[in-house]
Symmetry: C2
Subunit: 208 residues, 2 copies
DNA sequence: CGACTATTTGAAGGGACTCAAGGCGTGTGG
DNA sequence: CCACACGCCTTGAGTCCCTTCAAATAGTCG
């Protein structure tokens, strides 16, 4: 389920360090990327230098699809990552051959689009607590949670940038969720959802 | 430039009344839609009934692409519209034949994805005034503006739902922009940008 | 160990949501 | 033609959340 069956299984995993730039907005679409390990982010930067994190990409996610000639957002490694680069021309050739029988290619396109739709849905919530709750729920649906513990290997500054809020508010609301016993964070980079139903209600803006 | 060259030029324009549902989330992707006249919207509804407008589609826009088996959002007419329906199977067949030579199909995919990215970028702004300003700028870039007058045929409730704010705030900020002489609204459903540079600064959160 | 970054906490101020009510426009029926 | 109803836009007042600024602490890397 994590795999997208792009039939590039022999491709080599390449490492990148945390913070490393994978591609910049405006560069030609020559490769598409699949995350093997770690987390990557799509970033948009305004002329004034304000940064927004548009999406996070986790293991199995494919991004940088050559839908246009140029990449429309920049991509960077959040953590140290292992990723795979595929030639866009090869991708297009395969697209032509298999898109009728196989749904996997269209699925890759859909997965990328879904990531951006998801951010809009999260940002549409009224309060920062609702946005954070919705984000944590999305994480639990996307990431494996061995023993109920989900990885949160994202700097709070990135989470804040993704949720269109300030790092202070992210920190305060995480503490608030811990105090409500809705989540637990045994370590800084791990969290467990203790009360899923309550978390969903908070995501809907219902304070109970 | 408005046209996407999908080679369905003989397709018939069909009318729909304002508010009419074009398709619902979860329905199978059997058709894709092109707006000929008027405005359509992509809508997501939560279980509690909260509605979010995810995107607006203007003449020339194609949406409802069969990236997955089911539509992932609902679509409705905002105004009375003229639209065209294309068979998804035909779309996929054409995709297989032409995606290597022609970029138009991938472009249609990109245009839809761009609409969702755009909403995220707008919602990432800090204040409601910045979000509204960014939205108006996007409208001027997307819509024709004969004599500098751009159509604003959207109910303020829809604009509010798109910008994740309240109708009252939309109204107040429109008035604020008029008082600043940054925009003019000779009619309720028309606006002209009097001071583009100032509007862009407001969109960036710079109050001058 | 020291420099740097990320996280945490506090205080103050402002913006936006909510509730409420009034005005405007349109369409319908008497 | 007018009265009325309905929906949408507009405006006001109060409350609360969040941003911002500031500072202290914790964590990380050399």
């Amino acid at each position: 389920m994590m795999s997208n069956n792009l039939q590039f299984d022999r491709a080599i995993g390449m490492p990148a360090r945390a913070g490393e730039i994978l591609f910049l907005r405006g560069e030609p679409c020559e490769h598409l990327f699949e995350v093997r390990r770690g987390v990557a982010r799509a970033v948009a930067t305004s002329y004034e230098g304000d940064r927004q994190v548009l999406a996070f990409f986790f293991p199995g996610d494919v991004f940088g699809l050559p839908l246009a000639d140029e990449h429309r957002f920049s991509a960077e490694a959040v953590t140290d990552i292992i990723h795979t680069k595929y030639s866009s021309t090869g991708w297009q050739a395969q697209l032509a051959q298999t898109c009728q029988q196989e749904k996997s290619i269209l699925n890759a396109v859909w997965q990328e689009e879904k990531a951006f739709i998801a951010r809009g849905l999260v940002l549409g919530r009224v309060t920062a607590l609702a946005r954070l709750s919705a984000f944590l729920i999305a994480l639990t649906h996307r990431l494996p949670s061995p023993e109920g513990l989900c990885a949160l290997e994202l700097p709070q500054t990135d989470i804040a940038s993704y949720l269109a809020t300030s790092p202070e508010t992210v920190c305060r609301n995480l503490r608030h969720l811990r105090e409500l016993k809705v989540i637990a964070m045994p370590r800084r980079d791990r969290f467990a959802v203790l009360h899923p139903g309550r978390l969903e209600m908070l995501a809907e803006g219902i304070h109970n």
